[in-house]
């Protein structure tokens, strides 16, 4: 679906952000892109959407290079940026003007999503709150039904009920054809949505595994101390949250993406080693 090969990119010559970054995304999966501040998550999404051009390497969607921004390529993707402004139009008028460019746009789905998110179709978008505008853009991004959907911090700016609505809507509109790539800091908000974890650190993809593989190879437990056989441990108010290599038929708690993310950042090699020796 999406192939990034040997991408190099820098905002200035002295400090390259990406050097030979390679990543492959498959259709029908929801990828969560995690990384520390300044890791380059937004830049990676901008490169994937053709809004930035790599200095070298290529980003292809369905075999076509994104940087050419050909209509056939651009009609296959939609991006929901973290920071955005919408034109001073009503949601209805915005939709009427934007939808002809997206052949898979589903008007009934848009109507349903607008209703789900409780968005007034007659109120000018610039008069909506930031959260409402974001919900509208999320609704539009799902209704366009593009094979690739890029979302940058989609839950930022949403209140607690809206975050639940977002999760509900995302799971309802899950599509076997679509590849969703979500960049976020809010690991907990997206735990139920994503089925693949990608970690970007120091300009490199340091971890890229499916949640099912993670659940198969790792166990997350609460412990009283730090067991010597643990891979990583974090002290919390109720003891330690600890990560272990999963033993055969061993039961553990559900995958804790936040704990896993912290362990990957601090012990990249030992975590990846678990997945190497399969």
């Amino acid at each position: 679906m999406v192939e990034l090969s040997n991408i190099s990119f820098s905002f200035n010559r002295k400090t390259p952000l990406f050097q030979n970054l390679t990543l492959s995304l498959q259709a029908g999966r929801n990828y969560g892109l995690f990384g520390l501040n300044g890791a380059g998550k937004t830049t990676l999404l901008n490169l994937m959407s053709g809004m930035l051009f790599p200095a070298s390497g290529s980003c292809n969607i369905a075999g076509m290079e994104v940087r050419k921004r050909l209509p056939s390529v651009m009609s296959q993707l939609f991006i929901v940026p973290e920071q955005f402004e919408l034109p001073p139009l009503t949601p209805e008028r915005f939709t009427v003007n934007q939808k002809p460019f997206y052949p898979r746009f589903d008007s009934s789905e848009m109507e349903h999503l607008m209703h789900q998110f409780n968005i007034d179709p007659q109120k000018v978008l610039t008069q909506h709150s930031y959260g409402q505008r974001k919900k509208f853009l999320i609704a539009f991004s799902l209704a366009v039904n593009t094979p690739l959907l890029l979302m940058d911090e989609p839950t930022n700016g949403l209140d607690i009920p809206s975050k639940s609505q977002f999760r509900k809507v995302m799971s309802e509109t899950e599509s076997a054809r679509r590849c969703t790539f979500i960049s976020t800091h809010q690991v907990r908000d997206l735990e139920s949505i994503i089925d693949h974890m990608t970690v970007l650190h120091s300009g490199k993809i340091i971890f890229n595994q499916s949640v099912s593989d993670i659940a198969e190879r790792l166990t997350f437990k609460k412990t009283a101390g730090v067991p010597p056989e643990s891979l990583y441990s974090e002290e919390t108010t109720d003891g330690y949250h600890t990560l272990f290599r999963r033993l055969k038929d061993e039961q553990g708690e559900r995958v804790d993406l936040e704990l896993l993310f912290n362990s990957i950042i601090q012990k990249t090699d030992s975590i990846n080693h678990v997945f190497d020796n399969s």
């Binding site: 905002f11 959407s49 051009f53 921004r69 050909l70 034109p87 139009l89 003007n97 460019f101 052949p103």
Partner: protein, 251 residues
């Protein structure tokens, strides 16, 4: 055949959709500018009559044509300078940059709106406005109303429209190239480039003339050579605008 298949070849339907989208987003500011121009022209008509500096029965609406032409140029260049505004702000650029339409379609749409369509709307508006003004003047003067027509569809007006269409390409390039203050920056760039060309030609002329082997005898002020310079120049500027738009990024 895949009904979702989008072709990359030029698509007039997409240009029409782009035009509708542009009108929806920018239409309000255009209307404000149009209303302001009508207001200025109305004042321009009414003020001398109100101050009794000119008697009503001596007044002819065609005297507003030079002011209307000035506003036509100013409004058109301002409108052109702002046509790609959405592209230059990172928070709004995503919609435009990722829009499934080709660079050619985007540029042609911008050109069609700000050049031929704008000139057409101007001419229609000028006919309507001047005839309304002439009719109102006749009512005040108590004379029989006359139609303003030949003064509008004169070579002077058409030369102005032609000049607009050629200079317009420079403003379209400025609209793509400059991130802010596109109108002012385009004017400054044009002045700078004109000075540079004049200076270079001057130097070359002096050098060649001083050797006594060549004499430059082209009189541009006779206007005969202008189309042969302006039209290719406008086309070159449009090609540069296309390349700049094609290479436009979020930064």
């Amino acid at each position: 055949m895949d009904r979702y298949k989008v072709t990359d070849s030029f698509n007039a339907g997409r240009v029409l959709h782009l035009a509708k989208r542009t009108v929806a987003i920018q239409g309000r500011s255009w209307f404000t500018g149009f209303a302001a121009a009508i207001g200025i022209l109305t004042l321009w008509w009414f003020y001398p009559l109100l101050n009794n500096t000119q008697p009503w029965h001596h007044y002819h609406a065609a005297s507003l044509i030079p002011t209307a032409l000035f506003l036509f140029h100013l409004g058109g260049y301002l409108m052109t300078s702002k046509i790609f505004n959405e592209l230059h702000t990172p928070s709004t650029a995503f919609l435009s940059l990722t829009l499934p339409a080709s660079t050619t379609e985007k540029l042609i749409c911008a050109w069609l709106i700000t050049a031929p369509l704008y000139a057409f709307v101007f001419l229609i508006s000028l006919v309507l406005f001047l005839n309304v003004i002439q009719f109102a003047t006749s009512l005040f003067a108590g004379t029989s109303p006359s139609i303003v027509w030949s003064q509008i569809f004169s070579s002077g007006v058409f030369t102005n429209v032609g000049t607009y269409l050629t200079y317009h390409a420079a403003f379209l390039l400025g609209a793509v190239m400059f991130k802010s203050g596109q109108f002012i920056k385009t004017i400054l760039a044009m002045i700078l480039i004109s000075l540079l060309i004049t200076f270079t030609i001057g130097i070359l002329y002096l050098m060649l003339l001083s050797e006594g082997s060549f004499s430059l005898n082209i009189i541009l002020s006779e206007h005969r050579l202008y189309p042969f310079i302006q039209v290719p120049a406008a086309l070159i500027l449009l090609v540069i605008a296309w390349i700049t738009l094609k290479r436009k990024q979020l930064i």
